[in-house]
């Protein structure tokens, strides 16, 4: 063999081995579905309902032997990054779990489900069984991109024992900000060397969960209706920011910035929470001596409405090769029996029939006034459907709110700076808004 052909032979061998390695690494390990069986891929973030979903899928496959579901569990911290990366690579799953918070962001690769929904309206109960506020939240420009499974709504959470011990009547559905402050002041107790401080209310820091409620209830808005300008410098928005700040600095009902007790409501060091999340209900009910309940949010100076309503559910990718099959699975996962299982794990139902059945259950777990949570729907609204909402709120606005909370900025300065920065962002990138 000549000295030239030996290296060539070696090169060819190395290249062949590399190709074999790449093929092996990229080769699917799972057995291919049987002929005539359609595989539906489903991305879902890891959450406590895993067993429920797996049982649902097993039941779906039993009832529909023509389908096989491949669930891909993804950690929550990686979920949206992976999803968008897959979209860029045109490798999206057929079905993915998402929420209306992400809808504008995910819309470019989410399938319009309106035709399916119209065709199967009777079967899905979309027109009859879903709460009207939920129907509105699942639409963007009149089109349906998500079929919801559960909903979170901002509420007033309170500790019943602490109210009893302070001889205070429990919060009513007619409460205003003033009532809330007065009660919280009665419930607040300074700490000493033997006892930690008890706060009448928490103040959720680091994101928009609480301060946006106050901005909206004071009559403010984040964006103009066309989404092209930020309105956080309006007097109404500033009034909302001021109330959020003064809970600590003026009324003394919330811990100073940064000193919010960890898990304060669960540890019974905080008597009330504005906003909250239904995800925590199960945890609350595991604390045996935590006697808690919920009420409609106190009304602000402009209106009672302003709390957030956030739905979570299922979307089908625009590139799905099996949209009909994926839609079958979506319908299965959102039928009343399936939603009842999710609600049994401490979530609010998106379907009226399930909600009413739960409220009729004798001896059900807290909250005692579950109907208040459903009444709050009428005073809640989704976050603005803006494709850059999350980035704008967390990356740009929140830093100014943080600076306000620690006393570096007044509410006026925070609102002005936030609006100016957001508008510069929108101007520079010509961000289109829905």
């Amino acid at each position: 063999m000549s000295s030239l052909s030996r290296p060539l032979l070696a090169w060819v061998t190395i290249a062949a081995l590399a190709a074999l390695g790449f093929w092996w690494a990229g080769h699917r390990r799972e057995p291919a579905p049987r002929p005539g069986v359609t595989e539906i891929s489903w991305y879902v973030l890891i959450n406590p309902l895993r067993e429920v979903y797996e049982a649902q899928v097993a039941e779906f496959e039993r009832r529909h032997p023509e389908y096989r579901v491949r669930i891909v569990w993804v950690p929550g911290t990686e979920y949206n990054v992976r999803l968008k990366t897959l979209a860029a690579a045109h490798q999206l799953p057929d079905l993915f779990y998402t929420g209306d918070v992400w809808l504008s962001y995910l819309m470019p690769f989410t399938r319009d489900l309106s035709d399916f929904a119209r065709r199967d309206a009777a079967e899905t109960g979309l027109d009859t069984d879903y709460f009207p506020e939920i129907r509105r939240a699942m639409q963007l420009d009149g089109k349906i991109y998500i079929l919801p499974e559960h909903v979170n709504v901002s509420l007033l959470y309170y500790n019943r024992r602490m109210f009893r011990e302070a001889n205070l009547p429990e919060p009513s559905a007619e409460w205003t900000w003033d009532d809330y402050v007065r009660a919280a002041q009665r419930l607040t107790r300074p700490g000493d060397e033997h006892h930690p401080a008890i706060w009448g209310s928490s103040r959720m820091e680091g994101w928009w969960g609480e301060w946006l409620i106050f901005v909206r209830q004071a009559g403010g808005k984040v964006f103009t209706p066309d989404g092209h300008r930020c309105l956080l410098d309006s007097p109404a928005a500033i009034a909302g920011l001021r109330f959020y700040l003064e809970k600590s600095t003026r009324y003394g009902i919330s811990a100073p910035a940064g000193f919010e007790p960890v898990n304060g409501f669960v540890n019974q060091r905080v008597a009330m929470v504005i906003g909250g999340h239904t995800n925590f209900w199960t945890n609350y009910n595991q604390v045996t001596d935590l006697d808690w309940d919920v009420q409609i949010l106190p009304a602000g100076p402009a209106r009672r409405a302003g709390g957030e309503l956030a739905i979570a559910g299922y979307s089908i990718s625009r590139e799905s090769r099996h949209p009909e099959a994926a839609w079958e699975l979506v319908k299965f996962l959102t039928r009343p029996e399936a939603i009842a299982q999710v609600v049994a794990h401490g979530q609010l139902s998106v379907r009226r029939s399930v909600a009413e059945a739960v409220m009729r259950q004798p001896g059900r777990a807290n909250p005692h006034q579950l109907e208040a949570a459903y009444r709050q729907f009428a005073y809640a609204e989704p976050i603005p459907h803006h494709p850059h909402y999350i980035e704008i709120m967390l990356q740009i606005v929140q830093a100014e709110v943080d600076r306000m909370v620690i006393g570096e900025l007044t509410p006026e300065e925070a609102g002005r700076r936030a609006a100016a920065d957001v508008n510069a962002f929108l101007d520079t990138f010509h961000r289109a808004a829905p």
Binding site: S3, K84, A87, V262, L394, Q398, D402, T428
Partner: protein, 299 residues
């Protein structure tokens, strides 16, 4: 075929895969990211050329860019001298002929093999404002502790303190250098009446100056690229947006990551990456120029 041609072929046979890998996975992505830095590219649509708009936005409008530069520079300036001095100090101590020296060397190196995420979680608990270990201890002395991790004033100093625990690698390099310092030079100086400080100042330091220089250069580059500690700290503090509070811990690397993989502004993130690359290259050049004055290579 002549001998020289055969050798060339063998060279490419062995070097070829590495060169191909370098071109495919380093050079090409770098050049592509340079191109992307002049584009609007948000993954779902093809890149769109926008000239210098990304750079202009970063310099004039981006509310997070300059704070992230400031945080990173403050961290670098505060961390580097402390880290170098600490690593050298421990190396000097561990170079002493004490009983169980190997054991102590292992003990002091141990923190460096722990992931930064573990540090962030443990120190997050220690520095927690309400009920954290430090504030409990301060309360025993009648002192009201600060909101260490949730205050924009204290969050960065806390991270600087936490980062100092990873001094093991420069320490080991210093230790190796110290063991290379000829003993006879110390003995001769000692006989001439030089005290310990004089021997350290005039013998040890000049002889290990190339190693100090190496650690400084690597330390500067590492500090400017800090990411994992800041990210783990944000996660341990359950911050919805890494880099808080009020951008107090928004390191440049963290900001870049957020732009690239949080918001998928890959054009903007590429511009940030190239600015960082240019800054590090310039600073390293300055370091090398300045190093000529104080680094002794013994020639």
């Amino acid at each position: 075929m002549n001998r020289s041609r055969g050798e060339t072929l063998w060279f490419w046979l062995f070097a070829g895969p590495a060169v191909a890998g370098l071109l495919a996975f380093n050079v090409w992505p770098m050049l592509y990211s340079l191109w992307l830095s002049f584009c609007r590219y948000e993954v779902l649509a093809p890149p769109e050329f926008i000239g210098l708009q990304n750079y202009r936005y970063l310099f004039t409008h981006d509310p997070a860019f300059w704070p992230s530069v400031r945080v990173t520079l403050v961290f670098t300036v505060a961390n580097l001298p402390l880290a170098i001095a600490g690593a050298l100090g421990f190396a000097l101590l561990l170079n002493q002929p004490v009983r169980g020296r190997g054991f102590w060397r292992a003990v002091f190196f141990l923190p460096s093999i722990l992931p930064q995420a573990a540090f962030a979680v443990v120190f997050g608990y220690i520095f927690q404002a309400d009920g954290g270990l430090l504030n409990r201890a301060l309360a025993l002395a009648g002192i009201q502790g600060a909101a260490w991790t949730t205050s924009p004033t204290w969050a960065l100093p806390v991270l600087i303190v936490v980062s100092l625990w990873s001094f093991g690698y420069p320490m080991v390099i210093f230790l190796a250098a110290l063991q290379d310092v000829p003993r006879e030079l110390h003995e001769a100086a000692h006989i001439d009446g030089a005290d310990g400080w004089a021997r350290f100042r005039h013998i040890t330091l000049p002889l290990i100056s190339p190693i100090i220089f190496f650690n400084v250069v690597m330390g500067v580059i590492g500090a400017l690229k800090v990411f994992d500690l800041a990210y783990a700290f944000s996660v341990s503090q359950a911050q919805p947006m890494p880099g808080g509070p009020a951008r107090a811990t928004l390191f440049y690397g963290l900001n870049l990551y957020q732009q690239a993989f949080g918001f998928f502004h890959l054009g903007l993130a590429s511009a940030m990456a190239w600015l960082l690359f240019a800054f590090i290259a310039a600073l390293t050049y300055v370091n090398f120029r300045a190093g000529r004055r104080w680094v002794h290579y013994g020639d």
